[in-house]
Symmetry: none
Subunit: 223 residues, 4 copies
Amino acid sequence: MKRVHTPRKTPTQARSRMMVEAILTATASIIVKYGYKGTNTNLVAQLAGVSVGSLYQYFPNKDSLIAALHQREAHNLAEMIRNITEQYPKVGSLHEHLSLLVKTLLDHYRQETQLLRVLEKNFSELIDLPSEQLYKTEIPVLLQTMLKSWQDSLWRPNLPVAAWMTAHMIRSMLHAYVVETPEISPRDLEQAIVRSVMALLCAAPEQSVSVPHDLSRHSSMAS
Amino acid sequence: MKRVHTPRKTPTQARSRMMVEAILTATASIIVKYGYKGTNTNLVAQLAGVSVGSLYQYFPNKDSLIAALHQREAHNLAEMIRNITEQYPKVGSLHEHLSLLVKTLLDHYRQETQLLRVLEKNFSELIDLPSEQLYKTEIPVLLQTMLKSWQDSLWRPNLPVAAWMTAHMIRSMLHAYVVETPEISPRDLEQAIVRSVMALLCAAPEQSVSVPHDLSRHSSMAS
Amino acid sequence: MKRVHTPRKTPTQARSRMMVEAILTATASIIVKYGYKGTNTNLVAQLAGVSVGSLYQYFPNKDSLIAALHQREAHNLAEMIRNITEQYPKVGSLHEHLSLLVKTLLDHYRQETQLLRVLEKNFSELIDLPSEQLYKTEIPVLLQTMLKSWQDSLWRPNLPVAAWMTAHMIRSMLHAYVVETPEISPRDLEQAIVRSVMALLCAAPEQSVSVPHDLSRHSSMAS
Amino acid sequence: MKRVHTPRKTPTQARSRMMVEAILTATASIIVKYGYKGTNTNLVAQLAGVSVGSLYQYFPNKDSLIAALHQREAHNLAEMIRNITEQYPKVGSLHEHLSLLVKTLLDHYRQETQLLRVLEKNFSELIDLPSEQLYKTEIPVLLQTMLKSWQDSLWRPNLPVAAWMTAHMIRSMLHAYVVETPEISPRDLEQAIVRSVMALLCAAPEQSVSVPHDLSRHSSMAS
DNA sequence: GATGAATGAGTATTCATTCAT
DNA sequence: AATGAATGAATACTCATTCAT
């Protein structure tokens, strides 16, 4: 009734957007400071400078706040990856491309460590939200595109599998790194990750780089 | 901890142990079924067939139940890894040893998927509990021992770093696999993980397997 | 009120009237569907096609909506009774006049059963609203007028008492009938009510129709 | 586990009973004073001298408090009526028996006026609770038993219909009386009610006591 | 007058925890 | 040690009402 071509953000829409933004920011800082249990809607609303009622106008319940945070983070991630993917012709090699990816993501993760840490741990009932799909499909698909560009460099071009593994290897290691902050330099981490991914993508299986001992005997150990 | 023989405790101690066991089992099944929010101490006590009071005799608060679940899982893990580590002289190579490790852990994870999935998501206020230390120290230390055995096969013997990375690479990939159940065969997964880890451990850095294009130019991308 | 022709109000007044009408209609259907607790002003406004603000222009608060519904029903009732009362010379007897009254009201009640049912149950804080005065005074007064016409047929002409009793006897029985829907035919109900009222109005007290046993002993039971 | 023959009220049961009693009493006085909207569970618990938690142990929600009040009133009523019914051989006539009934109930109603008034008006979502069944079935059945005893005195022995009508005529008039407190003496009210009921039960239909004018023409009026 | 976004007081309900028995 | 009835602080969420536009 009021969306006549929506020539530009009507004041109302702009206000909504700001409200949502303020609420999410407040949620983030509260959840970082007090954890999931210490986060409550009234507090969030207060910090965001809006009334609880308004909060509930945009978010149906408490968990949806956290879900939205996930969404936001997810979109940021996807955006970053997409950007890097699009650098294709400009970077000289797959190795370089992956390095760029790892480096960029690590920088991002190091900034958002606090929030990431909490988000990671607070899905509980929120599992399988759209944002969760990110690592299942969206990001792997982006990586698939990227890997396809370098298809000639890959040993075995089962792209979906390769992409899924690449995505998780990078993500997992970066997460573990920012969350546990081991005494490893970012540089070393990046190199190690890239090297592992490269091995994953480029090496012939069961014939790894330097096999010191006998490898002809296949592993036949019980589980 | 975990004297494998438990020669015969006094009846009382035995009772305690059973109680704790019952409570943890109940907690696990409830958290798997209803999630963190749906888990409450009274329900747990009821399902465990004990009174709330007794529950509080052994667990100071609700979260300690989940923490204990983590602990338990952690000890199981450590035990498994210790066992494998002790196979050292028997397995023919690092590659084989790692394969055994990955295989064994995957089998374990595939059985406990449900619980793992929930535990993963329910740390929040529990971060930095002893069980969390597992991946920071205990497991890496175990792996360090294992890697030390194969030191000759390693390219660069910075054992702590290598062990930390190995631990996380294996764990992360296995977790992602059981939680997301992508269409990848266990076999392929195992091979991929081992290959990556081998690359991490054995390859000369910055000189990865097959570098198609120019790699001399180091990545100079923005951060 | 209710000038049957409503010769043509100024547009504004007409609009107001329609608005009020729409709001009341919406209120009625919502309260019938969801009960008192399920009725809220925003919902009413929405269903009525007006803004909450406008609703509050005409009704000072939520309960006034229900009060107005009572009012409306009350006026309808009074109007019906007034019409019947005015039939005086045309009906042949008090009995006939009462029959007409009962019949007409029953017809009305049977149409509005749903609403009546809910209104009956939702006075609480609204007790003693003007509409409640209806049965205390307005309707008894109307009946008084009617009974006065047949004064010769009445046994004891304490009109106020007789009128009050007549009013309530008719109303109560009809309400009970439409609300409980017992297996009694409307015809039987009408006859029974009229007969009872006639007994009330025309019989000599303490000497009721057919007294089978000894009645000289007055009831001497405890209170 | 603890009901070993329940030799007498175990302390626990006794305590429960007292708690329930205290809660209901508190509910009654609060609802009388503040109405439905002014009644809240915390207030009730406080006045009853128990914790809200305990209240919720016995009553699943707010409305169940009111429902229980209805229940209680319903049982009281049924008990009273049952007692009177059992007086059968001792009272000399139907007229006397009805008088006793009316008198007793009126006394009861006059004591509980406040509560009755509020209960009457606060069913809303509680309609059709078991207590509501009272007037639909239980009380009519009791009256049916009573009327059966005097069957010889009745004109037409359609007992179910007669009983239903008797029940409602008495209840309605008494309710209206205590709620509206018109200027009618209890004595007059009793007589009027009994007379009307007697007419209902004992008179031949369509041939009421004193028919002044022509009654052969049946009412043929529109509705 | 009309609108409906914003408000925030108000409340039912839960559940971790205690402690008298 | 075990019990589980009792507690009551804590909180998500609603909705009547207002008022700037």
